[in-house]
Amino acid sequence: MTIEAPTRTTPAEAPLSPPSSLYAKRIKVYPARVNGRFRAAKWAFLILALAAYYITPWIRWPRPGDAPDQFLLVDLAGRRFYLGPIVIWQDELYFVTGLLILAAVSLFLVTSLFGRVWCGYACPQTVWTDLYLWVERRIEGDRNARLRLDQGPRNAAYWTRKIAKHTVWLVIAAATGGAFVLYVGDAPTTLRAIVTGEAGSWTYAFFGILTFTTYALAGWAREQVCTYMCPWPRFQAAMLDEHSLVVSYRAWRGEPRGKHKQGETWEGRGDCVDCRQCVNVCPTGIDIRDGQQLECIGCGLCIDACNQIMDRVGRPRGLIALDTLTNLQRAEAVASAVPPGPARVERVAAARAEWRVIRPRTLIYTTVLVAVALVMLVAFVLRSTTELAVLRDRAPLYVVLSDGTIRNSFTLKVWNKGYDEPSYHLRLEGLPGVTIAVVGAPDERPLIATRADGVTTHRVHVTAAPGARLAESTPVTFVLQDEAGRAVVSTASVFLAPKR
């Protein structure tokens, strides 16, 4: 990459002294209010996300049996995951794993296309920090007012505002913690229990932890989480390439920057008027004009801020914009032949390249995404509501009866994920002439009883025909069949006999 390093805001002549401390003091960020397209999109997403988060546990869904009538429920005690008509048992947790894989690959795909939109718009840390910033702005005022308040005297007005702000923050945090525990139990019951003081200690513990973490992370830590704690910025560079859209300052257009008086010519200078609006609105407190940085969460607020300035000074929008590195490089090449000024901007605009959406990386991500989704869909559609697991006895592997006949014993577990209680006939394939006895069932008919929405365990003794010449190991299949003789589910095992 040959993009020439933009002029630094850090003075190049800073004295060369060893750093005085191994640890850096935190520089507080005071993001200013901004309006514009990206801000509007952020509000829209914030409202959508929070609404979904707070409302979902209250959606009801009638369910037979003991399970609460909740649409989305993570039943930790019952080891079930309920989503509307879908019930995922603990042994089907791979569906949840599949969802996580889908989420991860979607994140890769979206990042390779649009840069860090997850960070800027969808990440809970961003969403709650944004909400908290809004509260802060309502109570303490915008950037300048907040700066003044923090630097001013600690008087009554100061404390009133601070206390008001933290109170509102804590209320939001408590609502957040509360809303989260609503997902693991019946929401109305849980809420009533929390309010009346009857909830269990775990509920209160999680309620407290989530309240505290929300308050601490969204209120105090903010951009520090993105910069120092979050692993995603560390490896998201692997998802980005030169065709990904990233928030970028077009140095070829902005430089040389400087103050600009109304009526002055734009010839021979860049469009950046060095108003620092882009820096003031940035929630992570960085200067995008320094180039791509780890701290940038790709929220686009600097774009909104700069566009407003460009409108005001009468230059075209897009000095800061979503662009690809390829395009920036190409612009740089075109621009090097033209002196700074409006003519350069026009020449470059004419030479703009198409944004490449389809490229090996996005194709691979899409293929993986579709493949995983299809596998999950097929697995889900084909999954049976009855499952049979066969555990053979290990001590002893086989029993020699008094007449020399061989018997093997098995433990059968039958999962019935439905709400009726069918009984099945047990049949054994692969070994003719065997006798099957199910402990607890009438001897004539080896019936396997099931329990609605539950697992039953059955002990089964399989006795070979007297005098049968048995191999050391014979593959057999246990089959559960319904009244009509249809096989419902089957599982393979082996029948063992002594060496002859």
């Binding site: 390093a5 630094r8 850090t10 003075p11 190049a12 800073a14 060369l16 002294s17 060893p18 750093p19 401390s21 191994l22 640890y23 850096a24 003091k25 935190r26 520090q224 120092y228 006895d393 290990r394 001590a395 002893p396 029993v399 020699v400 009866l401 008094s402 007449d403 020399g404 018997r407 014993s409 402990v439 607890g440 009883a449 365990t457 002990r459 003794h461």
Partner: protein
């Protein structure tokens, strides 16, 4: 500390002075609050060490200000678990063995409880799955029962045991030491006869001679055709199951100088509900009659 302070031309930041393959490390200090969190965790560990058992001393360890111990915690958990089990155990205590066997709920509970009790108390002799061991530890999974394999028989055997001095009702059978009663030849003959009961004799003449010896000495305990006599605990000799081994040498050894196993009376060691669960569990192992 950095050895050679340099400024990176691209970022304007100082470097740490470290260089690997031409790549220099920027000096980006960790934020101070991270350091404070580290201190906070140290402080937290100190509080923890004061509250809970921690430091070793010359006469025991520091017990912690809360007085919490793992043992007390486990005792508490066990109390809770027992309280939860109590209603079930009461029902099992009150129910007859047959009632337990025919209630699927109680049966499942008894099998689960019996399995644990079996592993704790019985597996040492009878094997983890009731498979027994040669040398006098009968298998509980097969269909030969020396003292009977009904629920009641099994229950009685567990309560009183076999050949012990703890219970006056212990099941007792005694096989005489025939080494001092019969001659070597007679013992050989009777062993051949015993083998002939399961069609394994190799010396038919000896087996015929042995039939007479058997009729005089063995019939009362092992039955006319070696089918066993449960009332006195005489094992069957006409089948494929052998307590002390079924080779001729093993049979001769057993006749000459018999071994006889001992089982404790569990009635004085385990509570009634546990014994019932054990009986039911053993019965479901496969051999129950």
């Amino acid at each position: 500390m950095p050895t050679k302070i340099e400024k990176d031309s691209l970022t304007g930041k100082t470097t740490t002075g470290h260089e690997w393959d031409g790549i220099k490390e920027l000096n980006t200090p960790l934020p101070r609050w991270w350091l404070y969190i580290f201190y906070a965790t140290i402080a937290w560990s100190a509080v923890w060490a004061l509250l809970y058992p921690s430091f070793p001393g010359f006469s025991g360890h520091f017990r912690g200000l809360t007085g919490w111990t793992q043992r007390a915690a486990i005792v508490e958990q066990m109390t809770v678990a027992r309280a939860e089990q109590a209603p079930f155990l009461d029902r099992i205590r009150g129910a007859s063995l047959d009632e337990i066997r025919h209630s699927s709920e109680l049966l499942a509970y008894a099998i689960a409880g019996g399995r644990v009790a079996f592993a704790d108390n019985c597996a040492g002799c009878h094997g983890s799955g009731g498979q027994g061991a040669t040398g006098g530890f009968p298998a509980l999974v097969d269909d030969e029962w020396i003292w009977g394999g009904s629920l009641e028989d099994i229950h009685f055997t567990i309560v009183h045991g076999i050949r012990n001095a703890q219970s006056v009702e212990a099941r007792i059978s005694q096989m005489p030491v025939y080494g001092g009663i019969l001659s070597r030849g007679q013992i050989n003959d009777v062993a051949e006869f015993v083998l002939s009961l399961s069609n394994r004799a190799t010396d038919q003449a000896a087996a015929r001679r042995g039939e007479e010896v058997y009729a005089e000495n063995c019939v009362s305990c092992h039955g006319e055709r070696g089918e066993g006599v449960r009332a006195v605990g005489g094992p069957a000799l006409n089948d494929a199951i052998w307590l002390y081994g079924g080779t001729k040498a093993e049979i001769v050894a057993q006749i000459t100088n018999p071994r006889m196993g001992v089982m404790p009376a569990w009635g004085s060691r385990l509570d009634a509900a546990t014994i019932k669960m054990l009986a039911v569990y053993v019965h479901t192992l496969g051999g129950g009659e």
